[in-house]
Symmetry: D2
Subunit: 424 residues, 4 copies
C-alpha cells in the first residue's frame, strides 16, 4: 500500500493529474445520486445498507479527517459534530455514531451535505495547489486512498440504492433500460492449471490496498477452474432439484441461516404466475437465464458447488487463473448496464459479479497494516469474512486489479455476488 | 358517535360549512409540516412514531377508503397500492403495511403524497357539492370523523416531529421562539368533591367518538383533586429524593420497564453541567421549573403520586371535577407555544398536558362500536392502555370535550403527558 | 386483609389449630411433589413457570423472611444466600435472583431444600409454642398469609408441572387416571340479574387478601350471566368457524399476540389424525367435549364472547351472580381429577376453571396495601393484568371465597383459565 | 480417517482389545459424572452447554444410530423418540431436537439414560463378539470413531459441568482439591523455525478424524514460536494496561462482541477485595499467576498478541513446531488437576490449554468428508470457526495427536482455551 515515489521529475504532472482525478471521482458520486429524490437519500433498509446521503458525507469526512486535519495547518472543520456523525468505524478516531441508526437522521439535509462536499473539495484543492512542488509521498498515498475509498462507496451506493428500491412495494426504477435480448446459455468449460509454486499478491509499485500484499509464494496442486461464473439457468436447476431443502449440501451455519431467514432463492427473486422475476436497478424484470446468478451468499455458492460435485476456488487459485487475462475488460459499471449479463468473451474473470472464494479473509504472511487510525481500514476485518474476487457490474473499471481482495460475511447477499466453480 | 340530524332546515349551511371546515383542517396538516425539509418527512425514529409523510397520506387514505370508495359511484382510487401502504390498522379492510417499517419507504415522495391529497380533496369537494341537497347523516358523520381523525394525526405530527428532531444529535429547531419568563411556581391546591352518583360520558348530540358514550351513572366517594398539573419543580424533588431508585414507589411492571430502559428522568431531559435541559420544538432549552412536567409515563405518574402520599384520579373523578370549567380555554396549539407553561388561571384542566388517570381504557356500560371496518377505530384498543384526559399544548382547541378519552400504553412517553394528583 | 382478633378467649385453640393447619398445608406441598422424579424439580420451561424445587424453597423463605426474621429473637437464617435465591419479587427486601433463570440452578438439591423446609418448620413450631399465650394478631395474620401464599404456590405447582410435562415429547404422566365417561353437553342457560346498587368485596372479618377489600358499593345495570363456563364443544365451533382468523373478533393486542405466537387453538391442544387431543396431568387424552374449555387467554375468551354476540362479565357482575351459590362446592383439587369436567350441578361458579372477567385488575376504592415489604404482595401488580374469578380444578377448596380475585396478564394460558359469558 | 487393515493376523486381539477399550471409554463417562447430583444432570446454562444427562445419552445414540442400526440385523431401538431427542446435528438422519432446549427435558431421567447405556453396551458387545472372526474395517473404524466421539464429549462434560457450577451463586465444588504451591512465572522463550516446505496433516495409518488429512505440503517463512502458553501474570499486565479498552488492539468483530457482552477479563474471573479469583472445578480459588491463562476467546488471544507486538501462530506453524515434542506428555485429565498449571518441562505444547491459532477452520487440500450421515461429523463446520491445537487439562491423553484439529467460534470461552505467541 505504498506508491513508488522515485520519479520526482514527474511531480507536477502527477499532482495536476491527482487534482483532476480527485474532481472526477468526487463528481462520479454525485452523478450516481443524480436520479434520486431527496427522500431516497435518508433511507436505511437494513443495517448493512447506508443512506446515500451518508455515503456522500462519510467519503467527505474521510478527506477531512485523514488529510485536511493533518496537512492543512489552519483548517477549520466544517461542523464539530460531523466527526461523530460520519465516522464509519474508526474507533481510534472517536466513538462513531451507531451504524444501524444512520437512517434515523434527517439532518444534515442533502443540500447541507452537498455544501460540506464543496467546502472540503475546495480545501483539498488548495492543499494540493500549495504542495504541488513538494514531495510528499504520504499525502499522495492518502489522497489515492481517499479516492479508492470513495470508489468503494460508489459501488455501495449502487447496491444500497438497489436494496432501498427493492424493499419498496412500489418498486421504483433507478435507471430505466431494457437489457439485451436473452441468449441461450452455453455450458461452462474448465481451465486446467498445473501444480506448482506460484506468487500471488501485489508488488505495490502502484496503488493497492495494504491487504493485497506482501506478494508471496503459494503452493498449489493441479486444479481446474470454470471459464465463467455460474448462470441463472444453471442455478435454477439447483433450486428445482430442491437444493435449498437438502441439508447434506450445506455448511452447518448456512443451513441454520437459510432456515432462520426462510431463504429459498437468491435475494431479489420472486415468483409471479410461476415465472421467476428479479428486481434490478431498472425495476422488476424476468430473470435472464443466460446471465450470471447474483445476490447469493457464500453459503449458497458453497452449497451449489457441492451439489455439482465441485467446489469453490481458493483465492490463490483464482488469482493464478485470472492472471492470464486483463483486469480492465468486463461488464463494469462503465457499460451502464448495472446488471450482470452473459458475455461471450470467456474466460471472463472480471466485472459482472464478485466471486466467492473458499478463502477466509486473512492477512498474507508478513502483512503489516498502515500506521495510525488508517490502519483500521482493512486489517481489523480479518475474521469471519470470506474473500471475493473480480469486481462487479457496478465496480469502476480502474478500481480493480488482479490482486484485489474484497470481503463480506458469508451470509451477505446485497452485493452483486456470484459463483465460479473449481475442482481438483 | 352520532350527530343529531333533526335540524334539516340548516342543511345547506351545514354542508357549506363542512366543506369549509374540511379545507381548513386539511390545510392545517400542511401548515404543520411547512417548516420541514423533505428529508424530515420520511424518518421513523421508533415504532410508535410515524414519518410525517405517512401521516399526510394516511389521513387522506381515510377519506378515500371510508367515504369515496362507498359514496362516490365512479371513484377511481389514486394508486392501487396505497390501500396497503397507508392503511394503519384496519385489519378488516386488508393487511396493513408493517407499522415498524413505515420509515423504510422513500416513495411515494412528499410531492407525490401532496398530489394524492389534492386528488382526494377534489373528489371529496365534488362529492359534497353533489350531496348538498340530500340528507345523509352517515356521510356527515363520516366526514366529521375523518376531520377529527386528521386532527388527532395533527397532534401526532407535532409529537413525532419532536421525537425525530430530539433523536438527532444536531438538535434541529422546528419553530424558533423564546418562552415567557419563568415564574416561581405556586403550590397547587385541592378541589373537594362530594360523594354521590354522577353522570359521565357523552350525550352525543354533537360529534363525539363512540368510546365517549353512552352517558351513564357512576358512584363516587368523597375525593379531592389538584387544581393544576404537577410542575417540573415539584417533579424534580421526586428525582432528587431518588424516587427513580425506590422500588416501593413503583408498580411491578413500571419498575421492570424503568430498569430495562434505564430511564431516570422524563423523556427529552438531559443534564449539562449539573443543569437540567430538555428538548422542545424550539430546540434545547433549560427546564422551566414552573411549567407542568411532561413526557412522563403512567408508571412515572403513578410513582410520583405514591411518593406524595396521593394517587391519580379516576377518569370519572377527573370528568366530574372538570365539568365546572370550560373545555375551550387553555394552552392549546393555537397559542403557538407548543410547550406546556405555568398558567395562573387555575383550576386549569384543559390544554398543556394529557393527564394520566388511574383508569384502564375500557368500554363504558352498554358501549357499541360503530358498524363495519370503522368499528376498529376505538373499540379494539380497550385492553392494556390507560385513559388520559384534558388535551395538550399541541391539541387543537376545537377537538377537545369534557368527555374526551385519550389512551396510551402505560410506558409511553412521547406524547405531551403529565400528572394531576387526587386523594380520598 | 386483617383478621378479627376480638375473640381472645379462644386464643389457645386458635394457635393450636394454626400449628396443625401449618403442618397440613406444608405437607400438602410435599404430597403434590411426591410423584416427581428428582430431575423434574429443576426444570423451567418458560419464564412464567418455576421449577417445583423453587416453589418448595420460596414458600419456606416466605416464612423465614416475613416471620422468623422478625419474631424469633435469635433466629439464624438457614443459608445466607437463600434470601437472594428464593426471594420472588420483594424488591424492598433485596434484589431477587432473575426469574427467568430459576431453571439454571441445580443446587441446592431437592434434598437440601427439604432440609431447609424442616429447619424452618421446626423454628415456626417453636415460635408458635412460645407465643401461644400471648395475643399477637399480626403474627397470626402473617402465618395465615404464609399458608394462603403456600396454597397459591400449590396451584402453581400443578400448572407448572403440567407445563414441564407437556413440553416433553415423551409426554410423561403425573398421575395416571381415566376420566369419567364423556356426556353430550347441554346448552348453557342465563341467570338474569336486576340493575341496582350492590356491595362487593370482602368484609375482612376472616382472612382475605388486601386486594379483596374494602367492601364497597357498585352500580350495575340489568345483565344476564351464563350458568356454567363455555365447554370444549362450544369452543370448537368457534375454531371451526375460523374464529382465529377473523380480525373483527379480536382486540388489537390479542390479534397481534395470536399472530406472533401462531396460536390457533387452546394451549396443550394438538390434532392427531384429524382428532383433537390435549395434554392433561394424566397424559395425552382426547378432548372431552363436555368439559369446560381451559388454557385460553383473555384474548381468546374475549374473542369467543364477541363471536357469540355476548361479552365477558365484569368482576362485580360475576361476584353478585355467584353470591347466591356456595363457594365450597365444585371441582376443586380435592376431587383428585386435576382436570375440568362437565358438572350437572349448575349454576356452577366455583372450581373447574378460573374465569376471565372483563375487569382490569385494579385497586378497589379506598384500598390500602399492607405496611412494609409485605405490601408488595398484591398492590404492585395492579396494572396490565385482568381479574379472574372462581378457582380451578387445582385450587384447594378452603382457599376460595366469593370475593377472591386472581389476576394474570391477558396473554397467559398456562393456568386453568376458562370463559363464562354475560350479556346486557 | 481410515485405519490400516492389512494386519489381519492380529484380528482377534484387535477386536478383544476394542471390546475392552469400548468398556473402558464408556465407563470413563460414568466416572466423570460420579460426583454429580441428579439435579446437576439436567441443567443447560447457555446454548453451547449441554446437560450432562444429554451427553450420556447422545454418545449412546451415536453407537445405536451409526453402528447397531446398520450392523445388528434384528436390532430394536431402545426408544422410538430417542432418535429425535439425542441426535445432535445430523440433519440427514432426521430433524434434531432444538439444541437450546436440551435443558428443558426432565425425562428420560438419569436412571433411564443409564439403562439406555446398558442396553446399547450389551448390544455392541454382542455385535463385536459375533464379528470377531470377520474382517470389517468399516465397523472397526466406526467403533473407533464412536469412542473418540465419546472422549470428545467427556471433555465437554468437564467444561459444561464447570459452566453449570460457575453459574450457580452457591459455587458448588465438583472435586475438592488444593493446587500445587504457586511459583513465580518465568519468561517464555522463543523457538526459531527455518523457512521451508514442510508436511502437515495426518498419514491416517492409525485412527484420525477426516479433517486431519490429507497430509500435504505447506510453505513456511522463518518464524519463532513461544515455548509455552501465556500465563495469568502476563495476561494480567494486558488487563492492567487497559488492553480491553483500546480499540486499536482488537479485531472489529471482537471489539463489538466484547462491548456488547461487557467482557473485561477471562471467563470465570471475578474481583473480590481487589484480588482476582476464578472458578475452577474445585471451587472458587485465587488466580494462579504462574498458570496458563484460560477461558479466553480468540478475540482476546488475538488482541493480547497484538498488544505484545507479536501474533498467533498458524496451525501449520504450530504443528511443525510441536512435531519435535511428544504428544503424550502434558497436563491432561489423567493428572487429575482439571486446571491448567505452570509446567517446568518447556517446550510444552500439549495439555493444559487448547491454543488458538490464527487459522480459520477449513478443509485441507484434497479433503473428502466421510460418506453418508457420518460425513456431517466435521466437514460442515468448516466456516466461521478457528482452529485450536494441543489439547487441554481435561482432554484424555490418548485422544490427542500432533495433527489433531479442534475448532470453536472466535467468541467462545467456555472451553479451556489459551494463547501461544508467535512472530516473524
Amino acid at each position: 500500500m505504498q506508491i513508488n515515489t522515485n520519479q520526482s521529475e514527474h511531480k507536477d504532472n502527477l499532482l495536476l493529474s491527482l487534482i483532476s482525478r480527485y474532481h472526477q471521482v468526487r463528481q462520479d458520486s454525485l452523478d450516481i445520486c443524480a436520479p434520486l429524490e431527496k427522500e431516497d437519500y435518508t433511507i436505511q433498509t437494513c443495517s448493512e445498507v447506508s443512506p446515500p446521503k451518508w455515503h456522500l458525507a462519510h467519503t467527505t469526512w474521510f478527506f477531512e479527517s485523514f488529510i485536511l486535519n493533518h496537512y492543512q495547518p489552519d483548517y477549520k472543520v466544517y461542523h464539530p459534530q460531523f466527526d461523530y456523525l460520519f465516522n464509519s468505524y474508526y474507533e481510534t478516531v472517536g466513538k462513531p455514531f451507531p451504524r444501524a441508526q444512520r437512517g434515523l437522521l434527517s439532518r444534515p439535509t442533502v443540500e447541507e451535505v452537498l455544501q460540506y462536499r464543496q467546502y472540503v473539495d475546495k480545501a483539498i484543492t488548495e492543499l494540493l495547489e500549495h504542495t504541488v512542488n513538494k514531495t510528499d509521498s504520504k499525502l499522495e498515498f492518502l489522497l489515492a486512498l481517499g479516492l479508492n475509498h470513495e470508489q468503494q462507496h460508489q459501488e455501495l451506493l449502487y447496491t444500497d440504492i438497489k436494496h432501498i428500491f427493492a424493499f419498496n412495494p412500489l418498486r421504483p426504477v433507478y435507471k430505466p433500460r431494457s437489457y439485451p435480448s436473452i441468449q441461450p446459455p452455453e455450458r461452462y468449460s474448465w481451465l486446467d492449471i498445473k501444480a506448482g509454486t506460484y506468487n500471488i499478491g501485489n508488488e505495490q509499485n502502484t496503488f493497492a490496498y495494504d491487504n493485497e500484499g506482501p506478494r508471496h509464494r503459494v503452493l498449489l496442486d493441479d486444479f481446474s477452474i470454470a471459464n465463467r461464473p455460474v448462470n441463472n439457468q444453471e442455478y435454477l436447476e439447483f433450486i428445482e432439484d430442491d437444493g435449498y431443502k437438502n441439508p447434506a449440501l450445506w455448511l452447518a451455519d448456512g443451513w441454520k441461516h437459510m432456515n432462520n431467514s426462510q431463504c429459498h432463492h437468491p435475494l431479489y427473486w420472486e415468483k409471479k404466475n410461476d415465472e421467476w422475476w428479479y428486481m434490478t436497478l431498472s425495476g422488476l424484470k424476468p430473470v435472464d437465464l443466460s446471465a450470471p446468478v447474483t445476490h447469493v451468499s457464500f453459503y449458497e455458492a458453497d452449497a451449489y458447488a457441492r451439489w455439482c460435485g465441485h467446489r469453490l476456488p481458493s483465492e490463490a487459485e483464482w488469482e493464478i487463473a485470472a492472471d492470464a487475462y486483463p483486469a480492465n475488460r468486463g461488464n463494469y459499471r462503465e457499460t451502464g448496464l448495472l446488471q450482470p449479463i452473459a458475455r461471450p468473451e470467456a474466460p471472463d474473470f472480471f466485472g459482472n459479479v464478485w466471486e466467492w472464494t473458499q478463502s477466509p479473509y486473512q492477512s498474507y504472511p508478513g502483512f503489516k497494516p498502515l500506521q495510525g487510525s488508517i490502519g483500521e481500514y482493512n486489517g481489523k476485518f480479518m475474521c469471519n469474512q470470506m474473500v471475493l474476487r473480480g469486481g462487479s457490474c457496478v465496480s469502476p473499471v480502474e478500481h480493480l486489479r488482479h490482486s484485489y481482495r474484497n470481503f463480506f460475511y458469508p451470509h451477505e447477499r446485497w452485493q452483486f455476488t456470484g459463483i465460479r466453480l473449481a475442482k481438483d
